[in-house]
C-alpha cells in the first residue's frame, strides 16, 4: 500500500476550535488597533519596542506557550502560531517577540526539570522576563554542531567561554539558553550541552547589535562569554544532550517562523488588494486589469496554501508525529518562500508607491526575507525534508 502522507494520529482534516478562532480574533483586533499604528516607526527607529512587549504581556499573549501550572495559558502549538500570524500581519518585529519567547523556552519545556520550569516559566509567561536561544556562532551557522563555545565543569559550576552570533533578542533577554561543547571528543551530536544563563552576570557581554535589512526592531546580538560561571543546576537535561535538545526545539519552533511568514504575506496581500481597488488608471481600478488581478489571485492562493500547510503541521507536531522534523521544515520552507514572493508582488502592484515608505509593503518585503534565512535557511529545510524522504542512510 502506498505510504500515507501523515504518520501520526492526526490524520485527515483539522479545523480550528471555537476557542482558537476566538483567540485568533482577539489577537487580530489588538494587532489592528495597537500594533499596526506602531509598525512603521518601529522599523524606522530600529529600537526594541518595549511598549509592544508590554502590550503582549498585559494581554497574556506571551503566556500562550506556557503550561497553566506555571502561569501560562497552555496554548497548543497551533494557537501560538495563530497569535504569531496575526501579530506579524501588522508588524513582523512584534510577532517575533512571541516567536522568540517560545523558541527560547522550548529547550526548558523539552528537557527542563519540574524545578527548572517552576523557577523560570512564571516570569516568562507574565512577560516580566524575556528569553533568547543561543545556538549559532560566527563559524557555526547551518553547521550548528560545529560550535566552538565551551563549557568546562568546575566543581558545582560550568565555566563557559566563547561567542554566539545572530541571537534574536540577545541584548534584551533576561535568560539566554546557551549551547556549548562539554566534550570535544564525543561523537559529533553528543558534544553539546544546553545551559540557561541568567543575565546580566560576570563574564557576559553584548558585543554587537546588528544593523539589519528587516525585522529592524528586533535586536539581533552578538554575545561573548568570558569565564562565565553557571551553576550545574542550570544545565538542561544531561551532559551531551544539547544537540538533541536544539534539534527538537527547532522542530517545534519553525512553525512559528512559518506563522510569521504567513502573517507578513497576508498583511501585504491586504494592502495590495486595497490599493488595487482604489487606484484608478486609464479610467478604471487597476485591479480590474487582468495582469494585476492575476497577481492578486496568485498571492491569495499562495498565502492560503502556506497557511493550511502550517496549520496541518502544527496539528501533526502536537500529535507527536514521528516525522515532526519534516512537517516543520516543510511549513517553514513553503511559508518563507511564499512571503518573499507575495511581498515582492505587493510592491509590484503598488508600483512606485510600493517602493517608498509611505506604504508598508516595502517594509514587509524586507521583513519577509529573514523568514527564508533564520531557524535554518531554506536550503537546510530542503535537506531535512529530503533526509526524511530518503532515510538518513547512516
Amino acid at each position: 500500500m502506498a505510504q500515507v502522507t501523515s504518520a501520526s494520529r492526526a490524520q485527515g482534516l483539522f479545523r480550528l476550535t471555537d476557542e482558537q478562532e476566538m483567540l485568533r480574533d482577539a489577537v487580530r483586533v489588538l494587532a489592528d488597533d495597537r500594533v499596526a499604528p506602531r509598525a512603521a516607526e518601529i522599523d524606522r527607529t530600529a529600537e526594541f519596542p518595549e511598549d509592544m512587549r508590554r502590550l503582549l504581556a498585559d494581554h497574556d499573549i506571551l503566556a500562550l506557550p506556557f503550561p497553566t501550572e506555571h502561569g501560562g495559558l497552555g496554548g497548543e502549538l497551533l494557537t501560538v502560531c495563530l497569535a504569531v500570524e496575526q501579530l506579524s500581519r501588522a508588524c513582523a518585529t512584534t510577532g517575533l517577540i512571541l516567536a522568540v519567547q517560545e523558541l527560547g523556552s522550548l529547550p526548558i519545556t523539552l528537557a527542563g526539570s519540574d524545578e527548572q520550569k517552576a523557577r523560570w516559566f512564571p516570569k516568562l509567561a507574565s512577560g516580566e522576563q524575556l528569553i533568547a536561544f543561543a545556538l549559532t556562532e560566527p563559524e557555526a551557522g547551518s553547521d550548528a554542531a560545529a560550535a566552538r563555545t565551551t563549557a568546562m565543569r568546575d566543581g558545582d559550576d560550568y565555566v563557559i567561554d566563547g561567542s554566539k552570533r545572530f541571537i534574536s533578542q540577545g541584548s534584551v533577554a533576561d535568560l539566554v539558553v546557551v549551547f556549548a561543547v562539554t566534550d570535544a571528543d564525543a561523537p559529533r551530536h553528543q558534544r553539546l550541552s544546553a545551559f540557561v544563563v541568567e543575565v546580566p552576570r560576570d563574564g557576559f557581554q553584548v558585543t554587537r547589535v546588528e544593523h539589519k535589512m528587516g525585522i529592524r526592531g528586533s535586536p539581533t546580538a552578538e554575545l561573548a562569554f568570558t569565564k562565565l560561571r553557571v551553576p550545574a543546576a542550570d544545565r538542561l537535561g544531561e551532559e551531551g544532550e544539547g544537540w538533541s535538545i536544539a534539534m527538537r526545539t527547532l522542530d517545534r519552533s519553525r512553525p512559528a517562523i512559518a506563522a510569521q511568514a504567513v502573517g507578513i504575506a497576508q498583511g501585504a496581500l491586504e494592502v495590495a488588494t486595497a490599493y488595487a481597488r482604489d487606484r484608478q488608471q486609464f479610467g478604471q481600478r487597476i485591479g480590474d486589469f487582468q495582469q494585476v488581478g492575476a497577481m492578486l489571485a496568485d498571492m491569495d492562493a499562495g498565502t492560503e496554501a502556506a497557511r493550511q500547510l502550517l496549520y496541518k503541521a502544527c496539528v501533526e507536531i502536537d500529535a507527536g508525529a514521528p516525522d515532526a522534523s519534516r512537517w516543520s521544515a516543510m511549513c517553514k520552507l513553503v511559508a518563507g518562500d511564499t512571503a518573499m514572493r507575495v511581498t515582492t508582488d505587493a510592491v509590484q502592484v503598488l508600483g512606485g508607491y510600493g517602493y517608498i515608505d509611505e506604504f508598508p509593503v516595502e517594509r514587509m518585503m524586507r521583513d519577509a526575507k529573514i523568514t527564508q534565512l533564520y531557524e535554518g535557511t531554506q536550503q537546510i529545510q530542503r535537506l531535512v525534508i529530503a533526509r526524511s524522504l530518503l532515510g538518513k542512510g547512516d
Partner: protein, 263 residues
C-alpha cells in the same frame, strides 16, 4: 449579587448567509451562530456591575439547539460565571409564547437578583419574550435601559429608559427584569485568559422534562402562530452617499429633500 442574562444564538448578521428555508422560516444552517448583539450589551453591563460589586455571579440562560454551548463559550469568555442551556428536540419551531413559557420555567430553577435581556434579537426582532417572561414570573419589567443602577441594600434598581424625547427614570424592587440596547456601552472583546478559562466553565443542560413542560404544548405543534408567508425585503434603490464637509453635506441633503418635496 446574581444577574441572569438571557442570551440567544442568532445567525451572524455579518455573514450575509441569512436565507429563508422552504418552510418560510430562517434557515439557521446557512450562517454561523453568534451571540445576539443586544444580549452582548446587557451582558457587558452585567459584568461591569459584578466587577464593581467585587462579588457575585453572571449566569447565562440560553434556549437553543444542542450546539448552543458554542456561542455560550464566547459569552463565558467575556467573563460570565456559568451557563444554563435549555435544549430539547421538541423545542424546535417554538413561537414566542412557547419560548416565553420555557424561559420563565427555567428562571424558576435559578436564584437571582436581576435578569437582563437584549431588547430584541436580530433574527426575529419580535421583542416580546422579555416582557412576556416578566409577566409570567411576576417581575417588574424595565425596558430600553440606557443605564442600570442596582441598590443592593435597598433591594431596588433604577434605570434610565430611553424615550423619543429624552429618558424616564424608573425604579423597581428586585428581582426585576431589564431589557437594554447598545446605549449601555460597547461589549468587551474576550481576553486571552478569559477565552482559555471559558474551556472549564460549567454549562448545565435542562430539558423540557426537567422543567415539567409537556412537549406537546411547545414546538411547532404547540405554536399559536403559523408562518403563512415570508419573503426577503425588496432590494433598495440606488443609494446616494454625501461625503462632503458637514455644512456642505447638510446643504446638499436639504436640497435633495426639497427636490422631492419632502420638506
Amino acid at each position: 449579587m446574581r444577574i441572569v442574562v438571557l442570551t440567544k444564538p442568532v445567525p451572524d448578521p455579518a455573514s450575509g448567509g441569512e436565507r429563508l428555508g422552504p418552510d418560510g422560516r430562517l434557515d439557521r444552517s446557512n450562517s454561523p451562530a453568534v451571540v445576539n448583539g443586544n444580549d452582548e450589551y446587557v451582558l457587558e453591563k452585567a459584568l461591569k456591575l459584578i466587577e464593581a460589586a467585587g462579588e457575585g455571579e453572571v449566569i447565562l440562560l440560553t434556549m437553543a439547539p444542542d450546539n448552543g454551548p458554542e456561542t455560550m463559550r464566547k459569552a463565558l469568555a467575556m467573563g460570565a460565571t456559568r451557563g444554563v442551556l435549555v435544549t430539547d428536540p421538541a423545542i424546535a419551531g417554538s413561537d414566542t409564547v412557547a419560548t416565553t413559557r420555557i424561559i420563565a420555567a427555567a428562571l424558576q430553577t435559578l436564584s437571582f437578583d436581576l435578569v437582563f435581556a437584549g431588547v430584541d434579537t436580530s433574527d426575529g426582532v419580535a421583542g416580546v419574550v422579555a416582557p412576556g417572561v416578566a409577566a409570567l414570573t411576576g417581575m417588574p419589567y424595565l425596558s430600553y435601559a440606557a443605564s442600570i443602577e442596582p441598590d443592593e441594600g435597598a433591594r431596588t434598581v433604577r434605570v434610565k429608559r430611553i424615550t423619543a424625547d429624552g429618558y424616564d427614570v424608573l425604579e423597581a424592587p428586585m428581582p426585576a427584569l431589564i431589557s437594554g440596547t447598545q446605549a449601555l456601552g460597547e461589549p468587551r472583546y474576550p481576553s486571552l485568559k478569559g477565552i482559555m478559562a471559558a474551556r472549564s466553565k460549567e454549562i448545565t443542560t435542562l430539558t423540557l422534562a426537567d422543567l415539567g413542560i409537556d412537549p406537546g404544548t411547545v414546538g411547532l405543534s404547540g405554536a399559536l402562530t403559523k408562518v403563512v408567508d415570508s419573503r426577503p425585503p425588496a432590494a433598495r434603490g440606488a443609494t446616494k452617499v454625501v461625503r462632503d464637509a458637514p455644512d456642505e453635506a447638510a446643504r446638499q441633503i436639504v436640497e435633495l429633500l426639497a427636490e422631492r418635496r419632502l420638506i
